[in-house]
Amino acid sequence: MSFVEYGDTIKDGDTAIVFLGHESMFPVKVQHGTVTQTKYGVIRHSTDLIGKKYGSKVTCSKGGWVFILHPTPELWTMNLPHRTQILYSTDISIITMMLELKPGSIVCESGTGSGSLSHALIRTVAPTGHLYTVEFHQQRAEKAREEFREHGVEHLVTVTNQDVCKNGFGVSNIADAVFLDIPSPWEAIGHAKSALKPEGGRICSFSPCIEQVQRTCLAMEEFGFTEINTLEILLRVYNVRTISLQIPDLGEAAEDNSSTGFDGSNPSNQGSPCANLQQGTVQFKSGVPLREMVGHTGYLTFATKS
């Protein structure tokens, strides 16, 4: 296992994702002799996990079962221990594309936070790229280093414990892209510029408030960045449901009409809705939005140094 390479079987020391059911997962560190408790019973690592294929079904002691999944940055994002607010995959995906990241890219990031974005960045720039990430909080920096080591990606990342606004990224003229997720990104724009390659590169700043964006844009302009563009991306998730709607009873005369009417409209319905006319209901499949959705994460401001 590694976050940058697929493996077939589960090995001692791997990080694996235990999938319990709908949206219910957690990560485990696979170790000989260790057991993990789930609501379906106990998983014994030595016999239940090690040597098994990723993606296989593991039966727990109470007869229930779980799936064991290969870790990916996306699954990690959903399961990692939070030390700060984190970026989720929706924002991460647009950041990765708009920063034009690919294998071989050199990226600077600050702050490291819980390492949600870091794992995704490392995945994308591997095997020849590198991530320089700066975190001013000492324990968080330490914890991130430890995780990168456990996940087999330490050779692709350098964690520096310093204040990016004061001391910059610790590197200059080597980055293809810079990402900022700090409270006052405008104070780091100058450092970002000097971290980027002389021939240019891309920058992105993530801020929850429009006032922060305002100041960041001004700073970017001041430092000669071009193509400044602010956007926001929202994810809408749909539940797939079979819905049945009752046909209203309009009295005696309407009865004949209703049956013919719905026969006619059936083909126009998507899928193959089974109209149960005897009981006076019509069934159809629908993508129903969740009752609540994330309305705002942050504004993403992109710019180019050229």
Partner: protein, 451 residues
């Protein structure tokens, strides 16, 4: 070579040798290279009104007439100066608010100062461009949706990916960019060959194409049932398919990819043959015999060349089939104009367990059906039907707000993770079986999901 862009035409010769991101000004025919930053002009009149209570639209505020402006343009005066003249001859300009003045200048600059910037191709640029210019060719796949696909599919160096797309090769190009030449890609194609018009826009090095394979969609069933054999690949169907593709191509799009060029030359060769046959029947003169012999020789060479190509193609096909037969692909990406359900049910067979897959569809309804069918089939978890909204902002001092227009739709995604498929459960009414086997606590959950 002459190129037309936004009602301007120019030659690219002068742009060579400059760094990417350089801005050029268009003159009559060629390119000039102006400075990166044009120093702020026109700000000597720092007079401005506070509101528009006294501004009346009488249509006479601009003192220069249409003909005057045209005359200025014909004289080849710099666009910057024309804008300056327009401002000086506008009677209301001084009464406008500072913001309105700004907006006025920006609008005029856009019209009269033609500048172009030359940038390096990337997924960001190309997907934005295709969505804005030719959304029909990429099934209205918006760039943020493409970005989601790349992330949800865990696309990275070293993967063995299966890609089925009819997005002009844009999705393929995006996957290739993220894989950086490491690992392998198998492109499933309908018709006679894969379309890679957009892929060629990326300017990938040759190396990237070494591990790019293609496999015809029409052979998938035989590959899955085990009846696929290389002997059953006669040359005729290949040719038929080729012609079919040609006619498809006409209605679909005009392609410029290398691939296409190759095919064209193949059909040209075929046409030549038929022409000479006609000649044979038309006039068999003694004089023509010589020419005919030459032609025949040429034909023979053509035929041999064709056979060689076919043999090569067959060899590649066998290799690709072997790659698929291993059934250990690291992911599946589908973005096509076809119904996604049959594609997914078949192609997922080639994917290893615990790997992500992503299907794009312009419409939600086919994905609802796909979702249901996948649950019946089993072997997948974490199914998610989603859509992203993208909102652009104008950020200016005291004038920040969302842009007035946003894109209405960028399509839908169905994503999930493969798991080991239980034997025996795969064929018969698996959903019921699944429910029966599940522990009671879990059964409740599944039912919750379904009602």
């Amino acid at each position: 070579r002459k190129i037309i862009f936004e009602k301007q035409w120019f030659y690219l010769d002068n742009a060579i040798g400059h760094t990417y991101g350089t801005t050029f000004e268009v003159t009559s025919g060629g390119n000039l290279q102006p400075k990166q930053e044009v120093e702020e002009t026109t700000t000597e009149t720092k007079e401005a009104g506070t509101d528009n209570r006294n501004i009346v639209d009488d249509g006479k505020s601009q003192k220069l007439t249409h003909d005057d402006i045209k005359a200025l343009k014909d004289k080849g005066i710099k666009g910057q100066e024309i804008v300056q003249q327009l401002i000086e001859n506008s009677t209301t300009f001084r009464d406008k608010t500072e913001f309105a003045q700004d907006k006025y200048i920006k609008k005029k600059k856009k019209k009269y100062e033609a500048v172009i910037t030359i940038v390096k191709p990337s997924t960001r640029i190309l997907s934005t461009m295709y969505y804005a210019r030719e959304p029909g060719k990429i099934n209205h796949l918006r760039y943020d949706t493409l970005a989601q696909m790349l992330t949800l599919g865990n696309i990275r160096a070293g993967n063995k990916m299966i890609v089925m797309e009819t997005c002009a090769g844009l999705v393929l190009g995006a996957v290739m960019e993220r894989m950086g030449g490491y690992g392998s890609i198998i492109q499933m194609y309908p018709g006679g060959g894969p379309v890679r018009a957009a892929t060629s826009c990326f300017g990938f090095p040759k190396l990237f194409f070494n591990n790019l394979h293609e496999f015809p969609l029409s052979k998938v069933d035989s590959l899955l049932s085990g009846t696929f054999s290389t002997e059953t690949l006669p040359s005729e169907p290949e040719d038929n398919a080729l012609l079919e593709e040609e006619s498809n191509g006409l209605t679909d799009e005009k392609q410029t990819s290398l691939q296409e060029a190759e095919e064209e030359s193949a059909t040209e060769a075929a046409m030549e043959i038929s022409q000479t046959e006609e000649q044979e029947t038309m006039d068999i003169n003694a004089e023509d015999v010589q020419i005919k012999e030459n032609k025949e020789k040429e034909n023979k060479e053509n035929v041999r060349e064709k056979q060689r190509k076919q043999w090569e193609r067959r060899k590649k096909l066998i290799e690709t089939a072997a790659l698929l037969r291993e059934k250990n692909a690291d992911g599946l990406i589908v973005a096509s104009k076809f119904h996604p359900t049959p594609l997914l049910l078949s192609l997922l067979e080639f994917v290893a367990p615990s790997r992500p897959f992503v299907v794009y569809c312009q419409y939600k309804e086919p994905l609802l059906e796909c979702y249901t069918k996948l649950r019946e089939r089993g072997g997948v978890i974490n199914l998610k039907l989603s859509e992203t909204w993208l909102r652009n902002y104008q950020v200016l001092p005291d004038r920040s707000h969302p842009k007035l227009t946003m894109s209405g739709g960028g399509g839908y995604l169905l994503s999930g993770t493969t798991v080991v498929l239980d034997k025996g459960k795969s064929d018969s009414s698996s959903l019921e079986a699944l429910k029966m086997e599940e522990p009671s606590s879990k059964r409740c959950k599944v039912q919750d999901l379904h009602c």
